[in-house]
């Protein structure tokens, strides 16, 4: 192997952005669509974990990682629809339901996931995009999973969809003003139901990536809060799917900093390096927030109906 020394750090950030960011991409784009319709689903952490479990289990039984991913998406869809259905009732708080579904989803995943901790399921395939290089480290970093590419395409597709299609417009109107939407004859609850459903399905896929590709096994500690963090990233990304993609890449890349610095011998204070993604995100958030303060709505790009930013 080539000795790459300190080049290992930028390389790890690149590799980390590609490896670690995918679950964030899927969950945050999904949540972005949900929130644009005017609901917030804080429960995607539970959906992600359940997706990881169901994806792994189905992949193990069918011997097909893709079947597993599909199953995870379907399971996520069901969780999303459940959230959407409960929230259509008056006076029900969508944030609280999200928190309930977070523990419900993780609980179910842990409950049914016990028998799948030990078995080894097939992994999702990767595309060796680093074939042109003869540096093995670069080849490894550019070993790109298909879902990562799908995630990138999805970010642009979702942005385009929200801006330019009738469905996108419907979602945005429902999210900005339920009254206006009703005046246009839009069934607000139905729009939100399916937006939350789609968000759940994407979160399920994000979970399948965790268990079927990276780190590539199912156990109860598979998610260290990626689902919750991804939901927070949507606010950071100002409700734009493309920004969600960038935020996820940034977050994944910064997460690789801790191990990479230690591997080149910068080893003191590694806990602080591990906090880098959070510090960086917070710093950017503070720097880019408007100084208007609480008199104006917290963030101007926010969908008007969103309970969390009202």
């Amino acid at each position: 192997m080539t000795d790459i020394g300190y080049w290992g750090v930028p390389l790890a950030i690149l590799g980390g952005a590609i490896r670690v960011s995918t679950p964030f991409i899927f969950v945050s784009i999904g949540e972005c669509i949900t929130e644009r319709s005017g609901r917030i689903n804080l429960g995607l952490e539970g959906t992600l974990v359940f997706g990881a479990m169901s994806g792994y289990a189905v992949a193990y039984h069918t011997d097909s990682a893709w079947a597993g991913t599909l199953a995870a998406a379907f399971a996520g869809l069901l969780f999303g629809l459940l959230h959407g259905w409960i929230c259509k009732f008056p006076k029900v708080n969508d944030i609280a339901i999200g928190i309930a579904l977070m523990i419900f989803g993780s609980g179910l995943a842990f409950f049914f996931g016990k028998p799948y901790v030990q078995p080894v399921a097939p992994d999702l395939p990767a595309i060796p995009l680093g074939f042109w290089s003869d540096i093995p480290q670069l080849q490894a970093a550019l070993n790109v999973n298909v879902l990562f590419l799908v995630g990138i395409a999805l970010a642009f597709a979702a942005s385009w969809m929200l801006k330019n299609t009738r469905i996108g417009l419907t979602i945005r109107v429902a999210g900005d003003s339920a009254d206006a939407a009703r005046a246009l004859g839009i069934d607000v609850n139905r729009v939100r139901l399916w937006s939350t459903g789609v968000g759940g399905a994407l979160a399920g896929i994000g979970g399948a990536y965790l268990s079927l590709y990276y780190p590539g096994s199912w156990n109860e500690g598979i998610s260290s809060g990626q689902g919750l963090m991804a939901v927070a990233l949507v606010i950071f990304a100002r409700w734009s799917p493309v920004n969600c993609l960038y935020a996820s890449l940034l977050f994944g890349g910064a997460g690789a900093l801790g191990p990479a610095l230690q591997s080149v011998g910068i080893s003191q204070g590694y806990y602080l390096f591990y906090a880098a993604p959070y510090v960086l995100t917070l710093g950017l958030l503070v720097a880019t927030s408007s100084a208007g303060g609480s008199a104006t709505r917290a963030i101007t790009a926010a969908p008007g109906e969103l309970s969390i930013t009202k």
Partner: protein
């Protein structure tokens, strides 16, 4: 609860009879209790599906959570940190702020308490405990109050900033207890130097639970008084209802935001202090036990009402307390109780939708008059 609803309830109360008053007290209890029963029925179906007896399950949950004096000690010991953690969510929530990072203040409050114990170990017990409480409160107030300030001055969304700061706080705690604050004698569990005996907080006599429980309950009651019975609370509720209107009225929205988040942080910091002074005896990584996150659940379950936090925390602590016996007696995974909690929680939240449809008061009044 909205302001109008409150006012309406207040008006109604003035005009009503004693029977009405009793009904008014029972009304908020009726629906949640019915919801718990409904959730239990749904969960029974789940248990039957996986081939276990719901009767056995509920017997065990009752026995291990609430059935014996040991069970109550178990439940209340688990409830103690949750009461304070829930207030860190409930207080800002009355202003419309969703703070989900109380865990950060708990962890750092604990570290602050441990540090005081390490730096000034010579004080008399009461003073030492007071010093630790002040250090933990101030740390918590700055940590969570800072989130309120960021929201007010910079428009930074408090949900995301509190979550980010929780992760940062845990990293900071790990760094400190494994680095500068580490007691070299703590070997395989890196911790701060053990607190002097005099700084340890003991049990409430006869209950077998540390004093954090009493402080938590008092704090819940104080918060209820603050919110429901003082001008400050009234102003906060108006800000929570409509901030623009509140500012037009000249209410100091910024001050309220920072004050309420800081107060929430005080309680979370104290929760950390009790973990250190009453449970662990020193600050270490076990401070990040997830109480802050369970607190979110309880606050939302209690609809951010200080008094309701008490039964909500005890109920969930009781479920948690029964988890072990469920594992051991029924051979079910430890996640069983989590699934159960999820179902109960969903049922209670769903019952909100029925608030206006089933009016317990009406039922009560009809029966009272006939």
């Amino acid at each position: 609860m909205t302001l109008q609803a409150d006012l309406a309830a207040g008006l109604a109360a003035k005009q009503s009879s004693v029977a009405d008053y009793a009904g008014r007290i029972l009304q908020p209890l009726f629906l949640p209790l019915a919801a718990v029963v409904a959730g239990m029925i749904v969960f029974s179906g789940f248990l039957l599906l996986v081939g276990k007896s719901p009767i056995d399950f509920y017997m065990i949950v009752y026995k291990a959570g609430f059935g014996t004096s040991f069970s109550w000690a178990n439940t209340l010991a688990r409830a103690a940190p949750l009461l304070l953690a829930a207030l860190c969510v409930a207080l800002p929530a009355r202003l419309g702020l969703v703070v989900i990072g109380g865990e950060g203040a708990i962890v750092l409050g604990g570290v602050a308490a441990g540090t005081v114990g390490m730096m000034v170990p010579g004080l008399p017990g009461v003073l030492g405990i007071l010093a630790m409480a002040i250090a933990a409160s101030v740390t918590g107030a700055i940590w969570i109050g800072g989130i309120g300030a960021l929201r007010h001055y910079r428009g930074v969304n408090e949900t995301i900033s509190s979550l980010l700061l929780a992760y940062i706080a845990i990293a900071l705690m790990n760094h400190l207890v494994e680095g500068p604050l580490r007691d070299p004698a703590s070997l395989n569990k890196p911790s701060t130097v053990p607190l002097p005996e005099a700084y340890r907080i003991g049990e409430i006599p006869g209950i077998g639970v540390h004093w954090g429980l009493a402080v938590g309950i008092v704090a819940c009651i104080l918060c209820w008084v603050l919110i429901e019975r003082t001008t400050w609370g009234f102003a906060a509720r108006i800000v929570g209802g409509n901030i623009r209107a509140a500012q037009v009225q000249g209410l100091p929205a910024g001050l309220l935001m920072i004050g309420f988040t800081a107060l929430g942080g005080v309680f979370a910091g104290l929760a950390g202090m009790f973990e250190v002074a009453a449970v662990h005896g020193s600050a270490n990584a076990s401070l990040a036990a997830g109480y802050g996150y369970t607190g979110i659940l309880i606050a939302f379950l209690a609809r951010h009402n200080g008094l309701a936090v008490i039964p909500a925390a005890i109920l969930f602590a009781g479920f948690e307390a029964s988890s072990g016996l469920v594992q051991r007696r029924l051979g079910l995974p430890d996640a069983t109780i989590v699934v159960f909690e999820g179902m109960i929680f969903i049922a209670i939240l769903l019952s909100d939708a029925l608030q206006d449809k089933i009016d317990f008061r009406t039922l009560f009044r009809i029966r009272g008059r006939s």
